[in-house]
Protein backbone atom coordinates (compact mmCIF):
# COMPACT_ATOMS: atom_id res chain seq x y z
CA UNK A 1 0.00 0.00 0.00
CA UNK A 2 1.24 3.49 -0.85
CA UNK A 3 0.59 5.90 2.01
CA UNK A 4 0.97 9.62 1.25
CA UNK A 5 1.47 12.10 4.05
CA UNK A 6 1.10 15.80 3.18
CA UNK A 7 3.45 17.99 5.19
CA UNK A 8 4.02 21.72 5.51
CA UNK A 9 6.95 23.58 6.97
CA UNK A 10 5.84 26.54 9.10
CA UNK A 11 7.43 28.92 11.61
CA UNK A 12 7.77 27.02 14.88
CA UNK A 13 4.84 27.83 17.19
CA UNK A 14 7.31 29.36 19.66
CA UNK A 15 8.72 31.70 16.98
CA UNK A 16 7.95 35.39 17.06
CA UNK A 17 6.29 36.71 13.89
CA UNK A 18 7.61 40.09 12.77
CA UNK A 19 6.21 42.30 10.05
CA UNK A 20 8.34 44.30 7.68
CA UNK A 21 6.93 46.48 4.88
CA UNK A 22 3.40 45.10 5.22
CA UNK A 23 4.49 41.46 4.96
CA UNK A 24 5.49 38.80 7.45
CA UNK A 25 9.29 38.81 7.46
CA UNK A 26 10.21 35.16 6.84
CA UNK A 27 13.93 35.91 7.22
CA UNK A 28 13.40 36.83 10.85
CA UNK A 29 11.75 33.50 11.72
CA UNK A 30 14.11 31.88 14.23
CA UNK A 31 13.04 28.29 13.62
CA UNK A 32 11.07 26.42 10.96
CA UNK A 33 9.29 23.20 11.90
CA UNK A 34 6.87 20.64 10.59
CA UNK A 35 3.36 21.95 11.26
CA UNK A 36 2.24 20.37 14.58
CA UNK A 37 -0.88 18.56 13.28
CA UNK A 38 1.13 17.16 10.36
CA UNK A 39 3.37 15.42 12.91
CA UNK A 40 0.36 13.39 14.05
CA UNK A 41 -0.46 12.50 10.44
CA UNK A 42 3.14 11.40 9.90
CA UNK A 43 3.14 9.29 13.06
CA UNK A 44 -0.06 7.57 11.98
CA UNK A 45 1.47 6.95 8.54
CA UNK A 46 4.54 5.38 10.14
CA UNK A 47 2.38 3.06 12.24
CA UNK A 48 0.34 2.08 9.21
CA UNK A 49 3.49 1.41 7.22
CA UNK A 50 4.87 -0.81 10.00
CA UNK A 51 1.61 -2.76 10.17
CA UNK A 52 1.29 -3.32 6.41
CA UNK A 53 4.82 -3.05 5.03
CA UNK A 54 3.65 -0.19 2.84
CA UNK A 55 5.57 2.64 1.26
CA UNK A 56 5.35 5.99 3.05
CA UNK A 57 5.56 8.95 0.67
CA UNK A 58 6.14 12.36 2.29
CA UNK A 59 4.99 15.20 0.03
CA UNK A 60 5.34 18.93 0.51
CA UNK A 61 4.60 21.92 -1.70
CA UNK A 62 6.70 24.90 -0.72
CA UNK A 63 9.93 26.84 -1.17
CA UNK A 64 13.42 25.27 -1.14
CA UNK A 65 13.73 25.56 2.63
CA UNK A 66 10.97 22.99 3.13
CA UNK A 67 13.23 20.18 1.87
CA UNK A 68 14.83 20.14 5.31
CA UNK A 69 11.48 19.04 6.77
CA UNK A 70 11.30 16.13 4.30
CA UNK A 71 14.70 14.99 5.55
CA UNK A 72 13.33 15.18 9.10
CA UNK A 73 10.42 12.97 7.99
CA UNK A 74 12.88 10.49 6.48
CA UNK A 75 14.77 10.37 9.78
CA UNK A 76 11.72 8.82 11.45
CA UNK A 77 10.94 6.49 8.55
CA UNK A 78 9.45 8.16 5.45
CA UNK A 79 10.54 6.15 2.38
CA UNK A 80 9.98 8.50 -0.55
CA UNK A 81 10.42 12.27 -0.38
CA UNK A 82 8.66 14.55 -2.87
CA UNK A 83 9.20 18.29 -3.01
CA UNK A 84 6.83 20.23 -5.28
CA UNK A 85 8.02 23.72 -6.09
CA UNK A 86 5.52 26.43 -5.14
CA UNK A 87 6.50 28.64 -8.11
CA UNK A 88 3.32 30.14 -9.56
CA UNK A 89 1.13 29.21 -6.59
CA UNK A 90 -1.32 32.04 -5.84
CA UNK A 91 -3.92 30.45 -3.59
CA UNK A 92 -4.68 27.28 -1.65
CA UNK A 93 -6.67 25.73 -4.49
CA UNK A 94 -3.47 25.83 -6.55
CA UNK A 95 -1.60 23.96 -3.82
CA UNK A 96 -4.33 21.31 -3.68
CA UNK A 97 -4.15 20.75 -7.44
CA UNK A 98 -0.40 20.16 -7.26
CA UNK A 99 -0.67 17.86 -4.26
CA UNK A 100 -3.49 15.87 -5.86
CA UNK A 101 -1.51 15.47 -9.08
CA UNK A 102 1.51 14.19 -7.12
CA UNK A 103 -0.69 11.76 -5.17
CA UNK A 104 -2.00 10.36 -8.47
CA UNK A 105 1.49 10.17 -9.95
CA UNK A 106 2.78 8.16 -6.97
CA UNK A 107 -0.42 6.10 -6.76
CA UNK A 108 -1.21 6.58 -3.08
CA UNK A 109 -4.31 4.80 -1.74
CA UNK A 110 -4.50 6.65 1.55
CA UNK A 111 -3.63 10.28 2.19
CA UNK A 112 -2.90 11.70 5.65
CA UNK A 113 -2.50 15.37 6.57
CA UNK A 114 -2.92 17.81 9.46
CA UNK A 115 -6.34 19.38 10.09
CA UNK A 116 -4.81 22.78 9.36
CA UNK A 117 -1.36 24.32 9.05
CA UNK A 118 -0.03 26.46 11.89
CA UNK A 119 0.65 29.42 9.55
CA UNK A 120 -2.49 29.95 7.46
CA UNK A 121 -4.80 28.05 9.87
CA UNK A 122 -7.10 27.34 6.92
CA UNK A 123 -7.95 23.64 6.96
CA UNK A 124 -8.60 23.52 3.21
CA UNK A 125 -5.89 21.11 2.07
CA UNK A 126 -7.33 17.73 3.12
CA UNK A 127 -10.91 18.26 1.89
CA UNK A 128 -9.75 20.16 -1.21
CA UNK A 129 -7.34 17.39 -2.25
CA UNK A 130 -10.08 14.82 -1.59
CA UNK A 131 -12.44 16.76 -3.84
CA UNK A 132 -9.96 16.81 -6.73
CA UNK A 133 -9.29 13.08 -6.29
CA UNK A 134 -13.01 12.32 -5.94
CA UNK A 135 -12.12 10.71 -2.62
CA UNK A 136 -13.80 10.50 0.77
CA UNK A 137 -12.36 12.61 3.56
CA UNK A 138 -12.73 12.52 7.33
CA UNK A 139 -11.38 15.43 9.35
CA UNK A 140 -10.36 15.82 13.01
CA UNK A 141 -9.25 12.22 13.41
CA UNK A 142 -6.47 10.98 15.68
CA UNK A 143 -6.13 7.32 14.71
CA UNK A 144 -6.92 5.29 11.59
CA UNK A 145 -7.01 1.50 11.39
CA UNK A 146 -7.82 -0.67 8.42
CA UNK A 147 -9.23 -4.06 7.62
CA UNK A 148 -8.59 -5.05 4.00
CA UNK A 149 -9.35 -1.94 1.99
CA UNK A 150 -11.77 -0.48 4.55
CA UNK A 151 -10.50 2.26 6.85
CA UNK A 152 -12.02 2.84 10.28
CA UNK A 153 -11.61 5.97 12.39
CA UNK A 154 -13.29 8.08 15.09
CA UNK A 155 -14.38 11.66 14.53
CA UNK A 156 -16.12 14.25 16.69
CA UNK A 157 -19.88 14.64 16.16
CA UNK A 158 -22.48 17.10 17.39
CA UNK A 159 -23.31 14.82 20.31
CA UNK A 160 -19.95 13.22 21.07
CA UNK A 161 -17.89 11.03 18.80
CA UNK A 162 -18.69 8.55 16.08
CA UNK A 163 -16.91 5.60 14.55
CA UNK A 164 -16.93 5.82 10.76
CA UNK A 165 -15.72 3.55 7.99
CA UNK A 166 -14.86 4.22 4.36
CA UNK A 167 -13.16 2.47 1.51
CA UNK A 168 -11.40 3.36 -1.70
CA UNK A 169 -8.99 6.30 -1.89
CA UNK A 170 -9.42 8.13 1.41
CA UNK A 171 -8.11 11.33 2.99
CA UNK A 172 -7.74 11.80 6.74
CA UNK A 173 -7.04 15.18 8.38
CA UNK A 174 -5.49 14.80 11.82
CA UNK A 175 -6.09 16.64 15.05
CA UNK A 176 -3.71 16.42 17.97
CA UNK A 177 -4.27 13.04 19.62
CA UNK A 178 -2.92 11.06 22.54
CA UNK A 179 -0.41 9.30 20.31
CA UNK A 180 3.19 9.68 21.40
CA UNK A 181 5.28 11.14 18.57
CA UNK A 182 8.52 9.28 17.87
CA UNK A 183 11.86 11.06 17.83
CA UNK A 184 14.57 10.19 15.29
CA UNK A 185 17.56 8.14 16.40
CA UNK A 186 21.14 8.72 15.24
CA UNK A 187 20.96 5.98 12.62
CA UNK A 188 17.74 7.42 11.23
CA UNK A 189 19.27 10.87 10.98
CA UNK A 190 22.37 9.53 9.19
CA UNK A 191 20.30 7.49 6.72
CA UNK A 192 17.99 10.45 6.06
CA UNK A 193 20.89 12.66 5.03
CA UNK A 194 21.61 10.32 2.13
CA UNK A 195 18.01 10.08 1.03
CA UNK A 196 17.24 11.62 -2.36
CA UNK A 197 14.50 14.25 -2.49
CA UNK A 198 12.60 14.21 -5.77
CA UNK A 199 11.96 17.78 -6.84
CA UNK A 200 9.09 18.37 -9.24
CA UNK A 201 7.34 21.41 -10.65
CA UNK A 202 3.79 22.17 -11.75
CA UNK A 203 4.94 21.57 -15.34
CA UNK A 204 6.31 18.11 -14.47
CA UNK A 205 2.86 17.26 -13.10
CA UNK A 206 1.16 18.58 -16.23
CA UNK A 207 -0.58 21.36 -14.32
CA UNK A 208 -0.98 24.92 -15.55
CA UNK A 209 -1.94 27.02 -12.53
CA UNK A 210 -3.13 30.29 -14.04
CA UNK A 211 -4.30 33.31 -12.07
CA UNK A 212 -6.36 33.68 -8.92
CA UNK A 213 -9.17 36.07 -8.07
CA UNK A 214 -7.65 36.77 -4.68
CA UNK A 215 -4.67 38.99 -3.90
CA UNK A 216 -2.99 39.36 -0.51
CA UNK A 217 -2.78 43.13 0.00
CA UNK A 218 -0.86 43.21 3.25
CA UNK A 219 -0.03 41.44 6.46
CA UNK A 220 -0.01 43.38 9.70
CA UNK A 221 0.46 42.87 13.43
CA UNK A 222 -2.80 42.19 15.29
CA UNK A 223 -4.56 45.34 16.48
CA UNK A 224 -3.12 46.58 19.76
CA UNK A 225 -5.45 46.42 22.72
CA UNK A 226 -5.63 49.50 24.91
CA UNK A 227 -3.90 48.89 28.25
CA UNK A 228 -6.19 47.17 30.72
CA UNK A 229 -6.92 47.92 34.36
CA UNK A 230 -4.82 46.02 36.88
CA UNK A 231 -5.64 45.42 40.52
CA UNK A 232 -3.37 44.13 43.30
CA UNK A 233 -4.98 41.55 45.56
CA UNK A 234 -8.07 39.34 45.66
CA UNK A 235 -10.03 41.99 47.59
CA UNK A 236 -10.56 43.72 44.22
CA UNK A 237 -12.45 40.76 42.74
CA UNK A 238 -15.90 42.30 43.53
CA UNK A 239 -14.80 45.55 41.79
CA UNK A 240 -13.84 43.62 38.66
CA UNK A 241 -17.10 41.66 38.71
CA UNK A 242 -19.10 44.88 38.93
CA UNK A 243 -17.07 46.36 36.05
CA UNK A 244 -17.79 43.26 33.98
CA UNK A 245 -21.45 43.86 34.56
CA UNK A 246 -21.57 47.66 34.26
CA UNK A 247 -18.68 48.67 31.97
CA UNK A 248 -18.33 45.63 29.75
CA UNK A 249 -21.91 44.32 29.97
CA UNK A 250 -20.74 40.74 29.56
CA UNK A 251 -22.26 39.13 32.66
Amino acid sequence: MNIAVLLKQVPDTTAKITISGGKVDENSVSKWSMSPYDEYALESGLQMKEATGGNLIAITCGPERSKKMLTDAAAVGADTLIHISDDGVKDSTHVQRLLAAAIKKYEAQIILCGKQAADTNGGSTGPGVAEILDAACVTLVSEVSHIGDTFVTMRPSATGTEKVSLSGISVFAFDKGNTELRRPNVRGIMMAKKKVIESISAGDLGISLGDSSIIIDSQNPPPEKPAGQKFEGAEHVPTVVSKLRNEANVI
Partner: protein, 304 residues
Protein backbone atom coordinates in the same frame (compact mmCIF):
# COMPACT_ATOMS: atom_id res chain seq x y z
CA UNK B 1 -25.42 41.60 -6.04
CA UNK B 2 -26.31 38.57 -3.92
CA UNK B 3 -24.18 36.23 -1.88
CA UNK B 4 -24.92 32.54 -1.56
CA UNK B 5 -25.10 31.60 2.12
CA UNK B 6 -24.90 27.99 3.26
CA UNK B 7 -26.85 27.91 6.50
CA UNK B 8 -25.24 26.48 9.62
CA UNK B 9 -27.94 24.58 11.44
CA UNK B 10 -28.48 23.10 14.85
CA UNK B 11 -31.00 20.30 14.45
CA UNK B 12 -34.11 21.82 12.85
CA UNK B 13 -33.15 25.38 13.78
CA UNK B 14 -30.57 27.81 12.45
CA UNK B 15 -27.33 28.13 14.38
CA UNK B 16 -26.74 31.76 15.52
CA UNK B 17 -23.80 32.06 13.08
CA UNK B 18 -26.24 31.89 10.15
CA UNK B 19 -27.61 35.28 11.25
CA UNK B 20 -24.03 36.55 11.29
CA UNK B 21 -23.39 35.30 7.72
CA UNK B 22 -26.48 37.17 6.52
CA UNK B 23 -25.48 40.25 8.56
CA UNK B 24 -22.01 40.22 6.97
CA UNK B 25 -23.50 40.09 3.46
CA UNK B 26 -25.83 42.99 4.29
CA UNK B 27 -22.92 45.04 5.66
CA UNK B 28 -21.40 45.17 2.16
CA UNK B 29 -24.73 45.86 0.47
CA UNK B 30 -25.50 42.33 -0.68
CA UNK B 31 -28.66 40.32 -0.36
CA UNK B 32 -28.47 36.70 0.70
CA UNK B 33 -29.67 33.58 -1.05
CA UNK B 34 -29.74 31.10 1.81
CA UNK B 35 -29.28 27.38 1.15
CA UNK B 36 -30.64 25.17 3.91
CA UNK B 37 -29.22 21.63 3.89
CA UNK B 38 -32.14 19.23 4.09
CA UNK B 39 -34.48 22.20 4.51
CA UNK B 40 -33.51 22.66 8.16
CA UNK B 41 -34.21 26.19 9.39
CA UNK B 42 -35.71 27.26 6.03
CA UNK B 43 -38.81 28.99 7.39
CA UNK B 44 -36.71 30.72 10.05
CA UNK B 45 -34.25 31.91 7.37
CA UNK B 46 -37.09 33.35 5.27
CA UNK B 47 -37.84 35.76 8.11
CA UNK B 48 -34.43 37.38 8.44
CA UNK B 49 -33.64 40.85 7.10
CA UNK B 50 -31.54 40.83 3.94
CA UNK B 51 -32.63 37.41 2.73
CA UNK B 52 -33.75 37.48 -0.90
CA UNK B 53 -34.72 33.85 -1.14
CA UNK B 54 -34.32 30.55 0.63
CA UNK B 55 -33.55 27.28 -1.12
CA UNK B 56 -34.16 24.03 0.76
CA UNK B 57 -31.75 21.47 -0.65
CA UNK B 58 -33.30 18.13 0.16
CA UNK B 59 -31.76 14.68 -0.18
CA UNK B 60 -30.86 11.49 1.66
CA UNK B 61 -27.21 12.52 1.69
CA UNK B 62 -27.91 15.02 4.48
CA UNK B 63 -28.72 12.22 6.96
CA UNK B 64 -25.06 12.04 8.01
CA UNK B 65 -22.15 14.40 7.50
CA UNK B 66 -20.05 13.54 4.47
CA UNK B 67 -18.38 16.73 3.22
CA UNK B 68 -18.04 15.30 -0.28
CA UNK B 69 -21.73 14.41 -0.59
CA UNK B 70 -22.91 17.67 1.02
CA UNK B 71 -20.82 19.83 -1.26
CA UNK B 72 -21.88 17.87 -4.33
CA UNK B 73 -25.55 18.41 -3.48
CA UNK B 74 -25.20 22.06 -2.39
CA UNK B 75 -22.87 23.05 -5.24
CA UNK B 76 -25.68 22.61 -7.78
CA UNK B 77 -27.39 25.74 -6.44
CA UNK B 78 -24.32 27.82 -5.49
CA UNK B 79 -23.27 30.88 -7.42
CA UNK B 80 -20.96 33.90 -7.12
CA UNK B 81 -19.46 34.51 -3.72
CA UNK B 82 -20.37 31.87 -1.17
CA UNK B 83 -20.35 32.48 2.59
CA UNK B 84 -20.16 29.62 5.12
CA UNK B 85 -19.46 29.43 8.85
CA UNK B 86 -15.84 28.63 9.72
CA UNK B 87 -17.00 25.64 11.80
CA UNK B 88 -15.16 22.35 11.15
CA UNK B 89 -17.92 21.10 8.81
CA UNK B 90 -18.26 24.53 7.21
CA UNK B 91 -14.55 24.70 6.43
CA UNK B 92 -14.65 21.27 4.87
CA UNK B 93 -17.61 22.09 2.62
CA UNK B 94 -15.98 25.42 1.70
CA UNK B 95 -12.72 23.78 0.63
CA UNK B 96 -14.58 21.16 -1.37
CA UNK B 97 -16.86 23.59 -3.20
CA UNK B 98 -13.90 25.86 -4.01
CA UNK B 99 -11.86 22.94 -5.38
CA UNK B 100 -14.85 21.71 -7.37
CA UNK B 101 -15.49 25.12 -8.93
CA UNK B 102 -11.79 25.91 -9.34
CA UNK B 103 -12.13 29.13 -7.32
CA UNK B 104 -10.19 30.31 -4.25
CA UNK B 105 -11.26 29.67 -0.67
CA UNK B 106 -10.54 32.17 2.11
CA UNK B 107 -11.05 30.60 5.53
CA UNK B 108 -11.93 32.14 8.86
CA UNK B 109 -12.29 35.85 8.05
CA UNK B 110 -13.01 38.32 10.87
CA UNK B 111 -14.03 41.37 8.82
CA UNK B 112 -15.46 42.21 5.42
CA UNK B 113 -15.68 45.58 3.68
CA UNK B 114 -16.80 46.70 0.25
CA UNK B 115 -14.45 46.06 -2.58
CA UNK B 116 -14.50 43.05 -1.41
CA UNK B 117 -11.73 43.19 1.16
CA UNK B 118 -11.53 40.73 4.00
CA UNK B 119 -9.25 40.30 6.99
CA UNK B 120 -8.17 37.00 8.43
CA UNK B 121 -5.89 36.14 11.33
CA UNK B 122 -2.81 34.13 10.34
CA UNK B 123 -0.22 32.39 12.51
CA UNK B 124 -3.08 31.88 14.98
CA UNK B 125 -3.57 35.60 15.42
CA UNK B 126 0.07 36.65 15.62
CA UNK B 127 -0.64 38.59 12.41
CA UNK B 128 -3.62 39.67 10.31
CA UNK B 129 -3.82 39.37 6.53
CA UNK B 130 -5.88 41.64 4.27
CA UNK B 131 -7.09 39.98 1.07
CA UNK B 132 -8.87 41.50 -1.93
CA UNK B 133 -11.35 39.16 -3.60
CA UNK B 134 -12.17 40.24 -7.14
CA UNK B 135 -14.14 37.27 -8.46
CA UNK B 136 -16.05 34.24 -7.29
CA UNK B 137 -14.75 32.68 -4.09
CA UNK B 138 -15.80 30.67 -1.08
CA UNK B 139 -15.37 32.54 2.19
CA UNK B 140 -15.78 31.19 5.71
CA UNK B 141 -16.57 33.53 8.61
CA UNK B 142 -15.33 33.16 12.16
CA UNK B 143 -18.30 32.66 14.51
CA UNK B 144 -19.11 35.70 16.70
CA UNK B 145 -16.93 38.10 14.69
CA UNK B 146 -19.83 39.67 12.75
CA UNK B 147 -23.04 41.54 13.64
CA UNK B 148 -26.06 39.28 13.34
CA UNK B 149 -28.88 40.23 10.96
CA UNK B 150 -32.19 41.09 12.61
CA UNK B 151 -35.45 39.24 12.19
CA UNK B 152 -37.84 40.66 9.63
CA UNK B 153 -38.63 40.12 5.98
CA UNK B 154 -40.61 37.46 4.21
CA UNK B 155 -38.57 35.70 1.55
CA UNK B 156 -39.83 32.91 -0.68
CA UNK B 157 -38.75 29.33 -0.04
CA UNK B 158 -38.17 26.92 -2.89
CA UNK B 159 -37.17 23.28 -2.66
CA UNK B 160 -34.56 21.51 -4.74
CA UNK B 161 -34.28 17.75 -4.56
CA UNK B 162 -30.61 17.01 -4.91
CA UNK B 163 -28.83 14.11 -3.28
CA UNK B 164 -25.32 12.74 -3.81
CA UNK B 165 -23.39 9.53 -3.14
CA UNK B 166 -22.24 9.07 0.45
CA UNK B 167 -18.79 7.54 0.86
CA UNK B 168 -18.65 7.44 4.65
CA UNK B 169 -20.72 5.15 6.83
CA UNK B 170 -21.29 5.49 10.55
CA UNK B 171 -20.60 2.32 12.51
CA UNK B 172 -21.33 3.60 15.98
CA UNK B 173 -22.26 6.87 17.72
CA UNK B 174 -20.85 7.50 21.18
CA UNK B 175 -22.51 10.29 23.11
CA UNK B 176 -20.59 12.64 25.30
CA UNK B 177 -20.71 11.83 28.99
CA UNK B 178 -20.26 15.46 29.97
CA UNK B 179 -22.98 17.99 29.28
CA UNK B 180 -20.52 20.81 29.68
CA UNK B 181 -20.38 23.44 26.95
CA UNK B 182 -17.68 23.23 24.31
CA UNK B 183 -15.17 26.11 24.40
CA UNK B 184 -15.87 27.02 20.78
CA UNK B 185 -19.59 27.38 21.48
CA UNK B 186 -19.45 29.25 24.78
CA UNK B 187 -20.00 32.96 25.32
CA UNK B 188 -17.99 32.87 28.56
CA UNK B 189 -14.90 30.71 29.13
CA UNK B 190 -12.94 30.18 32.31
CA UNK B 191 -9.56 28.56 31.68
CA UNK B 192 -6.95 27.23 34.03
CA UNK B 193 -3.22 26.77 33.65
CA UNK B 194 -0.31 25.30 35.54
CA UNK B 195 -0.86 27.91 38.25
CA UNK B 196 -3.91 25.89 39.34
CA UNK B 197 -1.47 23.53 41.03
CA UNK B 198 -3.21 20.25 40.28
CA UNK B 199 -5.90 18.83 38.01
CA UNK B 200 -8.26 18.34 41.00
CA UNK B 201 -8.46 22.10 41.48
CA UNK B 202 -10.26 22.49 38.15
CA UNK B 203 -13.47 21.62 40.02
CA UNK B 204 -13.22 25.16 41.44
CA UNK B 205 -13.35 26.54 37.90
CA UNK B 206 -16.27 24.24 37.07
CA UNK B 207 -18.19 25.72 40.01
CA UNK B 208 -17.73 29.21 38.56
CA UNK B 209 -18.63 27.93 35.10
CA UNK B 210 -21.89 26.55 36.49
CA UNK B 211 -22.82 29.92 38.01
CA UNK B 212 -22.37 31.93 34.80
CA UNK B 213 -23.03 29.24 32.17
CA UNK B 214 -19.42 29.14 31.00
CA UNK B 215 -17.24 26.52 29.36
CA UNK B 216 -14.02 25.39 31.06
CA UNK B 217 -10.79 25.63 29.06
CA UNK B 218 -7.18 24.76 29.72
CA UNK B 219 -3.69 25.77 28.66
CA UNK B 220 -1.45 23.45 26.69
CA UNK B 221 0.72 22.78 29.74
CA UNK B 222 -2.09 21.20 31.74
CA UNK B 223 -3.39 19.25 28.74
CA UNK B 224 0.05 17.81 28.00
CA UNK B 225 1.25 17.35 31.58
CA UNK B 226 -1.89 16.59 33.56
CA UNK B 227 -3.85 14.78 30.87
CA UNK B 228 -6.76 17.19 30.56
CA UNK B 229 -8.78 16.38 27.40
CA UNK B 230 -7.37 18.05 24.29
CA UNK B 231 -10.80 19.38 23.35
CA UNK B 232 -10.42 21.81 26.29
CA UNK B 233 -7.12 23.20 25.07
CA UNK B 234 -7.16 26.85 24.03
CA UNK B 235 -4.22 28.04 21.95
CA UNK B 236 -2.28 27.56 18.75
CA UNK B 237 -2.42 23.76 18.83
CA UNK B 238 -5.85 23.76 20.45
CA UNK B 239 -9.01 25.76 19.91
CA UNK B 240 -9.18 29.38 18.81
CA UNK B 241 -11.94 31.04 20.79
CA UNK B 242 -13.76 34.38 20.61
CA UNK B 243 -16.12 34.52 23.61
CA UNK B 244 -17.50 37.74 25.08
CA UNK B 245 -15.59 37.03 28.27
CA UNK B 246 -12.44 34.97 28.79
CA UNK B 247 -11.20 34.43 32.34
CA UNK B 248 -7.62 33.09 32.54
CA UNK B 249 -6.67 31.67 35.93
CA UNK B 250 -3.08 30.70 36.68
CA UNK B 251 -2.13 30.99 33.01
CA UNK B 252 1.10 32.89 32.40
CA UNK B 253 0.21 33.69 28.79
CA UNK B 254 2.66 31.90 26.50
CA UNK B 255 2.53 33.25 22.94
CA UNK B 256 0.75 30.06 21.77
CA UNK B 257 -2.00 30.53 24.36
CA UNK B 258 -2.48 34.21 23.54
CA UNK B 259 -2.85 33.24 19.88
CA UNK B 260 -5.92 31.19 20.73
CA UNK B 261 -7.79 33.70 22.90
CA UNK B 262 -6.57 37.23 22.27
CA UNK B 263 -9.56 38.14 20.10
CA UNK B 264 -11.98 37.50 22.98
CA UNK B 265 -14.08 40.61 23.57
CA UNK B 266 -13.09 40.99 27.24
CA UNK B 267 -10.26 39.22 29.04
CA UNK B 268 -9.83 38.85 32.80
CA UNK B 269 -6.50 37.54 34.06
CA UNK B 270 -5.93 36.16 37.55
CA UNK B 271 -2.27 35.41 38.25
CA UNK B 272 0.01 35.73 41.23
CA UNK B 273 2.92 36.93 39.10
CA UNK B 274 2.41 40.65 38.37
CA UNK B 275 4.75 40.38 35.36
CA UNK B 276 2.93 37.47 33.68
CA UNK B 277 2.47 38.21 29.93
CA UNK B 278 -1.24 37.41 30.21
CA UNK B 279 -1.71 40.84 31.85
CA UNK B 280 -0.58 42.42 28.55
CA UNK B 281 -3.81 41.32 26.83
CA UNK B 282 -6.14 41.53 29.85
CA UNK B 283 -8.81 44.21 30.13
CA UNK B 284 -9.01 43.49 33.84
CA UNK B 285 -6.08 41.98 35.68
CA UNK B 286 -6.10 40.74 39.25
CA UNK B 287 -2.75 39.97 40.88
CA UNK B 288 -3.64 37.20 43.32
CA UNK B 289 -3.37 33.46 43.82
CA UNK B 290 -6.30 31.41 42.59
CA UNK B 291 -6.84 30.18 46.17
CA UNK B 292 -7.69 33.76 47.19
CA UNK B 293 -9.35 34.97 44.01
CA UNK B 294 -11.63 32.04 43.13
CA UNK B 295 -13.71 32.01 46.36
CA UNK B 296 -14.08 35.80 46.06
CA UNK B 297 -15.13 35.45 42.43
CA UNK B 298 -17.60 32.71 43.32
CA UNK B 299 -19.31 34.81 45.97
CA UNK B 300 -19.32 38.01 43.87
CA UNK B 301 -20.90 36.18 40.92
CA UNK B 302 -23.45 34.42 43.12
CA UNK B 303 -24.59 37.79 44.42
CA UNK B 304 -25.39 39.18 40.98
Amino acid sequence: MSFTIIAETNGDALHPTTYQLIGAASSVGSNSIVLCPNGNGASEAANINGVEKVISVVGDCFDIFDGGAWSNALNSVCEGKILISASPNGREIAARIAAKRGIPVVQDIVSITEGIKVERPIYSGKAVETVTISGDAVITLRPNAFEAAEKGGDATISTVNQSADIKISIQEAINKASERLDVTEADIIISGGRGMGAIENFSQLEDIADIVGAAVGASRAVVDEWGMPHRMQVGQTGKTVTPSLYIAVGISGAIQHLAGMRSSKYIVAINKDPDAPIFGVADYGIVATWEEAIPALKSALSEL
